[in-house]
Point group: C2
């Protein structure tokens, strides 16, 4: 089997090393040798692994036009030109393995259609959970189930930050700096901390679990940059842990609820034990009940592990690609949740009645209200609602923010008991 | 696709219902209908689900000799005559799906060989973790890895008992009775509570993960019936949780360490959050690192979910069966572990020095020693060793048991920091 590798960064280098290191075993399992014939890169000045010697090219056509290459492995990242290369490879009848979340989340539907027409594989296990096996378990092992809910911790950077904040009592900015130094967060961490990375993976999971296609930018997404030490502490006191959750559910009318949002989860939830850079995906099926997959969602070798498994699968299986259909997203305003709200108010008589009055007018009832130590002029107020309509909550938050008694709404976090 | 179902008990009935309930979806996915043509049972007087009407037979040949039946689904249980029926079905060129741990653990090697010769599938996902997807993830998703360690909570009954003992502060016998009433434990619970069920599943996992065949009865197996409220309490005080762990590891010389034993695990171990009837399997691969699979290891619908996924896979994939080789088990005496030992001694001067003397003579050093409130004539002593040779520990335990100062060794539990 001859491979054209596009990209030799973190993941590409891992793939080259893994095929070298476990090559004998791999050959035994699939009955032939995986040979990396050519490797596409961009920068002529970078030093490469000795295993890449004699294979480097700077021209994608060298791979795409090579008749001997059966499988194109795209690990360059970014939407362009990866999309164009993948498309061309499929058109040429080559199998494609990719780790590219952006391309699959945004263009998966057409690419799957093209692959099905051309009777070739399009495999993308590494794009969702790095090394965590999730795509095959969903497509094969749970094939007899109707899956109706997915909850995931899909981003290692944010989970690392939340874990450190909790364990060391540190504030967001300090942990982020530390994570950047350790290589757990990028120089520009926006994609991770604002939840966009998790939203892309969630979009891919919706495609797999529900056969529903939804663009990641349509998924209501809220990151963790606003979360402070004191939110973590309140959560702890109330018996919860804060996690950045990616959530999707299919309702009785086959409509999709999907969002990425910080959530306080119960200590008894299996996701509570998922710490540091680890990821996990909890799936609910009508026969199997709750199933969870846990592991490293990123990193050189875990990701390479998933990419190479996909390459091996090209030989092992006949092509099955399920199409998927466009779906109506339930507007976030029409969904329901408990909410935790922390705000700073001026410590004046009547402030509490004004705030609770706004909520009452919207029909939102409260589970608990705590007002803590007035900080000179201001006081910190923490409200937890009963299950409420999110649209009403968002309206109420806007009104509360405009009250002259309120300085700032600091945090809005969902609360779940499951 | 025409199916012959052997057995219509818990799992068989689940299979019939699941195919009925999710039939449309299943048909869409595999491109044809699954039709259950005949169902083998034993007892002519039992009431059956209406879905079985007109299909019941009491003669296995009706299924085995039916040329139209492509797939035999064996969910009768017990070693015989299940083994003979499976063998005959494979010889006749029929695919076989089974949930039978005993048959696969004891005869998997020959059956796999036979299936490979006959170019048919032998699928047994449900035999290991009920509904938890584990076989495909191991064989496909982690195919590029060398797997070197497996740790599992493979038995729901014992995990339920340990969880209840901890959460409600109850003693073993009381929880067992309650579990039997609730249907979580059988009338004769020996197979579960003595660890034999876990040992069978571990043997199957060794076959899958390491391609090594080991008979379940050769796996050193210790159950949980000796564990008392006070062990649970000591564990808690020291920061551990007691779990019945099934453990297997391949060493550098390709020898296998495998055992089932109660273990104190750290609260930070992902298995710590696995409570009640849930099972989980933690796999360590050289590329992917630690991966965990979690879900319900038993029950009607979860198990049926795995059986039906196997049936669907018969149509979806070409046959790949990897052979496996006999393996040298590392004798338990040559393995190493920390141990927690709780014993009752007569409260006489010199008793502690005698006990610690025995351990010292065997080269076993101690991490901690606690002697608690002398109970009239006797005192409870809890020892925790550093990592020690298990052979020496077993010898020392024998000598300590023979000391006239010692009434009884109550508990021996492994302790792990990972
Ligand atoms: N890193 C992870 O842990 C991880 C986990 C899961 C999924 N992924 C996904 O895997 C993909 C690769 O990630 P990575 O971390 O390996 O990225 P990376 O380290 O930045 O490597 C990218 C590689 O692609 C090459 N490349 C980029 N644009 C190119 C172009 N236009 N023409 C030719 N070569 C080009 C680069 O060439 P030069 O070497 O010449 O710069 C480099 O070798 C991304 O889609 C990412 O989302 C990564
Ligand atoms: N139950 C679970 O949660 C679970 C989970 C994982 C794996 N499994 C495995 O699945 C298998 C079935 O378990 P189960 O709980 O469904 O067992 P079960 O409820 O005892 O049902 C056994 C069925 O097989 C039939 N049967 C038994 N011996 C027979 C014979 N000699 N000839 C014809 N029919 C015979 C019985 O017939 P009658 O109905 O006439 O008595 C019954 O319908 C076992 O291997 C078990 O280890 C079970």
């Amino acid at each position: 089997m001859k491979i054209g590798l596009m990209g030799l960064g973190t993941v590409g280098t891992g793939v080259v090393h893994l095929i070298d290191q476990n090559g004998r075993n791999i050959e035994k399992k699939i009955g032939e040798k995986i040979e990396i014939k050519k490797i596409l890169v961009k920068d002529p000045n970078k030093k490469r692994t000795p295993l890449a010697e004699g294979k480097i090219t700077f021209n994608a056509e060298d791979i795409l036009e090579d008749e001997e290459i059966d499988v194109v492995v795209e690990v360059m990242g970014k939407e362009h030109p990866a999309l164009e290369y993948i498309t061309k490879a499929l058109q040429k009848g080559k199998h494609v393995v990719t780790a590219n979340k952006e391309v699959i989340a945004k263009h998966g539907k057409e690419l799957i259609k093209l692959a099905t027409e051309k009777k070739v594989h399009l495999l993308y296990e590494a794009s969702v959970g790095g090394g965590i096996p999730i795509i095959r378990p969903l497509k094969q092992c749970l094939a007899a189930n109707k899956i109706y809910e997915i909850k995931g911790i899909l981003n290692g950077t944010t989970n690392y930050i939340l874990t450190e904040m909790k364990e060391k009592g540190l504030d967001f900015d300090d942990v982020l700096k530390d994570a950047q130094q350790k290589g757990y967060a990028e120089a520009d961490p926006t994609d991770d901390i604002e939840g966009f990375d998790a939203a892309r993976k969630l979009a891919i999971l919706c495609m797999l679990a529900f056969n529903k296609f939804v663009l990641p930018e349509k998924i209501y997404t809220k990151g963790i940059s606003f979360i402070s030490k004191s939110d973590i502490q309140y959560a702890e006191e109330m018996g919860y842990t804060i996690k950045l959750l990616a959530y999707a559910r299919i309702d009785e009318k086959e409509r999709l609820e999907a969002w990425v949002h910080p959530v306080m989860i119960r200590k008894t939830n299996p996701l509570n034990g998922v710490n540091g850079v680890f990821n996990a995906i909890l799936v609910d099926g009508n026969a199997v009940g709750e199933v969870m997959f846990y592991g490293q969602g990123a990193g050189m070798m875990p990701t390479a592990s998933a990419v190479v498994a996909d390459i091996m699968d090209v030989k092992n299986h006949i092509v099955i690609q399920n199409g998927c259909e466009e779906v109506d997203l339930i507007p976030i305003e029409d969904t329901f949740s408990k909410y935790y709200i922390r705000l700073i108010a001026f410590d004046r008589p009547g402030v509490m009645s004004k705030i609770t009055g706004v909520l009452g007018n919207k029909g939102i009832s409260l589970l608990s209200v705590v007002q803590k130590g007035s900080l000179g002029e201001t006081a910190e107020i923490v409200l937890v609602t009963h299950i409420a309509n999110t649209g009403k909550v968002l309206e109420a938050l806007k009104e509360i923010e405009e009250l002259k008694e309120v300085e700032k709404i600091e945090s809005v976090i969902k609360v779940r008991e499951d």
